[in-house]
């Protein structure tokens, strides 16, 4: 019977879905091998020879940025939480504006291989490089876990019956191979290609669905807003909502289920007669606070994600860095219009997803499942479109994971091996170290990915953003614009902000996991009493779930106070450093700075 098993197993798989997913994975491997032949030098591996053109680089950054959370998570969140979830795509896209306004140009002019390079160069402190390396690895691993989970879940969806870890291992192995073969240069081409796959995979099904089932505005209009007796649009066939779905007026209006969770839990703990008064007094102010904290976390977090920042070093010059950011904003801005449309249409036509299925939060599947609706009317077209969205989902985990892997591998091979362990190593040895580090990091990421099956994708992504927002963003912003910063100030602010954000978010996560009826609930049972505490203090819960509003301020405040206290330790050549960061590159100050440094080291 054994040989029959794969056949029976393949029969359950839609051939179109299989074909599209297979082509995406195969093309990724092929491009990796092809670019391996052209990537020769260390510079090719770490920063793609600093010669990536604006168009390629913008597509590659966008491809790297649009992760599993963007491709599947945003649509699912809009479907489950409504209006409040729109902040996610908007802030993901607009965080780039902050990067452009304050950080992109100066960072590129300073010209270093990695963020730890910048940290050391700006403060002349090898110790600070070590701290920065730890943060690159830390945030990186945090952000790889949700990508790995997305891969495992999608593969299990495409091939029903396949274990969760198989997807994690497959995607992890493919990307690790690519990074080890081609480094940054190879990955740039692959990611640029994957951006266009994702764009195609999200937009084409949306246009077809809208043409068949009614446009975006009609689907939003089918929901009753608060105070309306009837919804304005009634032209579409809407399926009855299931019990678990939020009501129309809560879903379409601001301050809905996402931001009022803590207050609602607190109200539920009160006697029934006190509830309406309590809700009327606290619900909206608290959810306004939640909204602001969320905005800060997402906007500052985007500007502080290490795998995005490292890309700026691949631009030929500062002007190109700015042009690239402009194009990234347009490319991801266009993309982010589409996932909410999936969520809105899904709410009207596939409400059964709200009930949730094993292994994946029901609404997260909306992008993959919605195109199958067309199969009833148009047969094979539905399968083809579903295949296209699955291919897009594959492209999403693969490209984000490859970017993370390059930045973490760069940190290990360049900063740890090349600067700390063996500074005397030559080019060839560093290349070997890069490949070795890629395999090592990829392996660790795969193992971590196998353990996070029970955690939610958006939870994990939010955590990575909150930590990046309160550590790297204050560091970069203040280092670039304030000459009075000292190494101690920078380190104190970055560590305090990052660690506070980590602890706060972890506290809310473990308390939620403690409520899980299954295995997770048993492991984290110790934290169950925390939920009673949250019910007493909803404000504290909001500040722990979305800590950015105080951790970013704390980090910047500490940086200022500690730097003032240690003002004598401002680097001696700070004026020159600031000139290199801000003066136009045509003045050639960078060359001068390097020569001075070499002369200085010679004494």
């Amino acid at each position: 019977m054994a040989p029959l098993l794969p056949v029976a197993f393949l029969e359950a798989v839609d051939p179109w879905i299989f074909a599209f997913s297979f082509v995406t994975v195969a093309a990724t491997i092929w491009m990796g091998f092809r670019s391996a032949r052209t990537s020769k030098t260390a510079s090719d591996f770490f920063v793609a020879g600093r010669s990536v053109s604006v168009g390629w680089n913008a597509s590659a950054i966008s491809g790297e940025y649009l992760s599993a959370a963007s491709f599947m998570g945003v649509a699912g969140m809009v479907m489950s939480s409504g209006y409040d979830a729109l902040w996610y795509p908007v802030c993901y896209a607009c965080g780039y504006l902050f990067l452009l306004l304050f950080i992109a140009g100066p960072l590129r002019r300073f010209g270093a291989y990695t963020i730890p390079d910048f940290a050391e160069g700006r403060y002349d402190s090898p110790l600070f490089r070590k701290i920065a390396v730890c943060f690159v690895l830390f945030i990186g691993f945090f952000y790889t876990m949700p990508q790995m989970k997305g891969a495992g879940v999608t593969l299990a969806y495409i091939f029903p019956g396949i274990p969760y870890w198989a997807g994690v291992v497959l995607v992890g192995a493919v990307i690790t191979l690519n990074v080890a073969l081609g480094g940054m240069k190879g990955i740039t081409l692959v990611q640029a290609f994957q951006y266009w796959i994702k764009m195609f995979a999200i937009s084409v099904p949306v246009f077809v669905l809208m043409a068949v089932f009614g446009f975006y505005n009609v689907h939003v209009g089918a929901n009753n807003a608060p105070g309306e007796s009837a919804a304005p649009a009634t032209g579409i066939e809407r399926k009855a909502l299931v019990e678990k779905a939020p009501r129309d007026d809560k879903w379409i209006a601001p301050f809905g289920p996402l931001t009022t969770k803590a207050v609602n839990a607190a109200a539920a703990a009160l006697p029934a007669e006190q509830r309406p008064a309590y809700l009327a007094e606290h619900q909206k102010p608290y959810s306004l606070l939640y909204t602001y904290s969320l905005i800060i976390a997402l906007v500052c977090g985007t500007a502080g994600l290490p795998h995005i920042l490292v890309r700026f070093y691949t631009n030929p010059d500062g002007v190109a860095a700015k042009r690239t950011t402009m194009w990234v904003m347009i490319l991801i801005g266009i993309f982010y219009v589409f996932p909410p449309i999936f969520g809105v249409i899904g709410r009207n036509l596939m409400p059964e997803l709200y009930t949730g299925l094993a292994g994946i939060k029901g609404t997260d599947q909306v992008v993959l499942k919605l195109p199958t609706l067309l199969a009833e009317k148009y047969g094979v077209l539905g399968s083809i479109l579903s295949g296209i969205t699955c291919a897009g989902a594959f492209a999403a985990f693969m490209s984000t994971f490859s970017g993370l892997l390059v930045s973490m591998t760069g940190a290990l091979a360049h900063d740890v091996y090349g600067r700390m362990i063996r500074p005397e190593s030559n080019q060839a040895e560093r290349l070997v170290a890069f490949k070795f580090a890629a395999v090592l990091t990829g392996g660790v990421a795969i193992v971590l990915g196998c353990f996070v099956e029970k955690l939610e994708i958006n939870f994990m992504v939010g955590q990575a953003f909150a930590i990046a927002a309160s550590s790297y963003f204050p560091l970069l912003f203040m280092s670039v614009w304030w000459r009075g910063m000292t190494m101690k100030g920078a380190a104190a602010g970055m560590l305090a902000g990052g660690i506070c954000a980590l602890i706060a978010v972890a506290l809310t996560n473990v308390s939620t996991l403690a409520l899980d009826p299954g295995e997770m609930g048993r492991i984290f049972a110790v934290f169950k009493p925390l939920n009673a505490f949250w019910a007493q203090h909803p404000l504290l819960r909001i500040l722990c779930e979305q800590p950015a509003i105080w951790t970013v301020a704390l980090a910047i405040g500490l940086m200022i106070v500690v730097s003032k206290a240690t003002a004598a330790q401002v680097p001696g050549d700070i004026r020159m450093k600031m000139l290199v960061l801000h003066a136009p590159e045509k003045l050639g100050l960078k060359q001068e700075y390097i020569q001075e440094h070499i002369a200085g080291a010679g004494h």
């Binding site: 729109l86 209009g221 379409i252 601001p254 301050f255 614009w481 003045l587």
Partner: protein, 104 residues
């Protein structure tokens, strides 16, 4: 070491750095302010004028239309203006330094 030329003198002066950073920061802050007014103003508008923000426009509520659709073009406009100005600013700085070098 040869005596510094007036051109180098000027580039390395405290005043040049100060003006340079000030001009760039001013531009960045002006653009950021335009962006933050929209981003941080929208929740306030939702909070204070829920009725107005729930007005229907082509089936969307007003606030949904602003956040889910119109926000992106607004940000593109801000970044386009910023990039044009900032490239002009850099060229202007290079020009002013070069002209000083030629004067001598």
């Amino acid at each position: 070491m040869p005596p510094p030329t007036p051109h180098e003198d000027r580039v390395h002066s405290e005043q040049f750095l100060h003006t340079l950073m000030r001009r760039q920061l001013k531009l960045s802050i002006a653009c950021a302010a335009a962006f933050l007014v929209v981003l941080l103003g929208l929740p306030v508008a939702n909070y204070l004028a829920p009725q107005l923000m729930a007005t229907r426009v082509f089936g969307f509520t007003l606030t949904w239309l602003l956040l889910g659709v119109l926000f992106f073009p607004a940000v593109w406009a801000i970044s386009w203006i910023f990039i044009r100005r900032s490239i002009w600013l850099e060229e202007d700085e290079v020009r002013s330094v070069k002209s000083l070098g030629e004067d001598r």
